[in-house]
Amino acid sequence: MRRSHFGSPWLMLTPAISLISVFILVPIVLTVWLSFHDWSTQTGFGAARFVGLRNYEDLFGPISVGRDFRRAFLNTAVYTVLSVVIILPLSVLFGLLVHQTRVAGGQVLRTILFSTYMVPMIAVALVWSKLYSPTEGPINQILSWIGIGPQPWLSSPDTALFSLVILNVWQQIGYFTVLVIAGLTQIPLSLYEAARIDGANRMQEFFGITLPLLRRTLLFSSVIAVINAVQVFEPVVLITQGGPANSTNVLTFHIRRVGIERAQGGLGSAMAVMLMLSLIVIIVLIFAMARQKEER
């Protein structure tokens, strides 16, 4: 009786632990192990040659391997920060607008907003690469109507990454708006009624009730937005190939280039480990900041 009491939980947990181990832990451990080796992705793991910290030294070295990695790292960070900083406030704004149940066509607006999230990235990439075309693109033509000269968009290292951020915001905003709407529906209307009786205006309602009670939703949104942004890949591979002048080379694209195209599995693994560590640090920081605010 005692044995079955202690044995059954482990028995119940074994399938889940096995699956997690096989599909998550083993690949992570393998990637970390490979990052200390010189290994061609076209050969077996047995052919991996131990090189210690050399791959990591190269990532921070002066030659092209290090320069390209650091640029990709910086580009990924900028892309992530800009995406999150734009998406979160915009999703709250759209959420508040769409959540107004009395406004006619609210459901239609909600559907239109979410539809951008459902469009396949290949279609988005094809359309946006034409929209951004410096000579024939509609965006520059529209800008010219209001007296703004042609912008280089994807053709300049100064604007290419930001152009991809705009594309990302356009595609993702609907999804995050839906999350915000879900959060808004959880806020009891009685709180707003009580605030109004106490003489609170709209701004006070927003900062005193809406925003604090949306904190958990926004925490979830920010974690998902960070993960999505860090994993950006398709627009880069489909539109810019990392150019011009490495300005849109992001980590996922760079790891693919190094690890698959050049078959440098050890170096690619070291880059993947750095990406994973950065992501862990960011996510932990977001949760720590959220917890600190809740404690206050």
């Binding site: 690469s129 075309s133 000579t135 053709s155 539109i239 810019t240 190939q241 150019g243 490495n246 195209e261």
Partner: protein
């Protein structure tokens, strides 16, 4: 059962496995060609299958930017046949992804292709692929813009190139004199290398990078001058994953006076320009201050067979490729491959194909390329070549966008190349 019957039964038993295996062979062919060209390849494959009922061939196409990744991620389980850029061959051989050509195929290649082209399909003396296309770089210029600017002839020297670029540049009208491409490794590096060899320099010799030479510095300085003087606008030179984009758009729409590009762009230029294609002239690469004659860079493509394919698949694949590239499969003594290549304006490399297409190769656009081919240097094929090419691309693009000086570009390019080639050789 008499002796003759026994012999028949034995013979039939011997043939049975062969017949069965022949009927089971399914080949897959990976290419980066556009749908129209893929249709021609499929047509040729159907013709082969009609003659060899046991063999079916399906063609798979991916954009050029994804071709190497597709080959590598497929590994030994990938497509049976793949079309590859010659620069990739040493690394694919090192990783055991491509099969050496059987003796009869190797002899076919050695006997029927120019020695330089056959060498590009070889690693350590063994042939691994059947060459098909060869590409060379030349100066393309817009004759209508030249006439408007009062330029009588295409530039022969770098001084004339800069002078023509200055006359053709009208930034207020969004027009640049000389177009320099970015965002595509080979597209960036090949024109640079063409100018370098026309200035008497080399990228790599005997496995050692030579980007620290005076000739290389002068080439970097030419790029710097073009940008600083406004003759080239970097933002007008972007290419996309399909190697088209603003760089092509600006040239076909008359916003760029001159570019350095390979012959295979003929179909893209025709498609973009229509009747205005006649305005495009071809001339040798201008000679630099340290050069003595116009030279250029050439590179080739070839088809290889997957080392992981079964012996039956490999045998059928090589047989198909010999047929596809042989004089019996096409029109008027040309190979079916040459017919496909010529539909895109690409030069075939087999001796008999060049002969069969001698008239077509003399058309105005291609004539300039064919005449350049004799003095072209093959782009160096070394282990680590792709990484070397991508690293040099980044340095050149930084120079194009004014992020570094010519001297910094030279120092970075040489240091990168030394490190990459040393590591690859280990």
């Amino acid at each position: 059962m008499n002796a003759i019957s026994r012999v028949w039964i034995a013979a039939a038993a011997t043939m049975m496995p062969l017949t069965a295996y022949a009927q089971d062979v399914q080949l897959t062919y990976l290419t980066h060609w556009a749908p129209d060209t893929v249709a021609l390849l499929e047509e040729a494959a159907s013709a082969y299958s009609a003659e060899h009922p046991g063999v079916t061939i399906s063609v798979r196409a991916v954009p050029f930017g994804d071709l190497l990744t597709t080959i590598r991620s497929g590994g030994t389980d990938g497509t049976t046949i793949a079309s590859i850029y010659d620069l990739w061959l040493p690394a694919l051989v090192k990783d055991g992804l491509v099969a050496p050509a059987p003796e009869n195929v190797a002899k076919e290649v050695s006997d029927n292709w120019p020695a330089g082209i056959a060498a590009a399909a070889s690693v350590d003396g063994a042939i691994y692929g059947i060459p098909n296309e060869v590409n060379v770089y030349a100066l393309n210029y817009n004759k209508a813009l030249f006439e408007e600017a009062g330029i009588a002839a295409p530039p022969k020297t770098w001084d004339e190139l800069k002078d023509a670029a200055a006359k053709l540049t009208d930034l207020s009208a969004g027009q640049q004199g000389f177009g320099m491409i970015n965002s595509w490794a080979a597209g960036v590096v090949h024109p640079f290398a063409s100018l370098l060899v026309s200035n008497g320099g080399q990228l790599i010799a005997d496995g050692k990078p030579l980007l620290d030479s005076k000739e290389a510095l002068e080439t970097f300085q030419l790029y710097e001058t073009m940008i600083k003087e406004g003759y080239s606008v970097a933002a007008m030179g972007t290419a996309d994953a399909n190697t088209t984009g603003p760089y092509l758009d600006n040239f076909v729409s008359g916003k760029t006076g001159m570019i350095i590009m390979a012959n295979w762009w003929e179909s893209a230029l025709k498609g973009g320009m229509g009747d205005d294609f006649d305005n495009i002239g071809t001339a040798p690469i201008p000679v630099g201050p340290s050069g003595d004659a116009p030279r250029s860079i050439s590179y080739s493509w070839q088809t290889v067979v997957n080392a992981g394919a079964t012996p039956a698949e490999q045998e059928a694949a090589w047989d198909f490729l010999v047929w596809l590239n042989g004089p019996e499969s096409g029109k008027n003594g040309a190979s079916a491959m040459a017919d496909i290549l010529q539909s895109m304006g690409i030069l075939p490399s087999r001796n008999s194909d060049i002969e069969a297409y001698s008239d077509a190769l003399n058309r105005p656009f291609l004539e300039g390329y064919v005449s350049t081919l004799a003095d072209a240097q093959a782009f160096p094929i070394v282990l680590g070549g792709q990484e070397f090419s991508e690293a040099l691309q980044q340095v050149i693009e930084q120079l194009q966008y004014g992020q570094i000086t010519a001297e910094e570009a030279q120092a970075n390019a040489q240091a990168d190349a030394v490190s990459i080639l040393e590591r690859a050789a280990q």
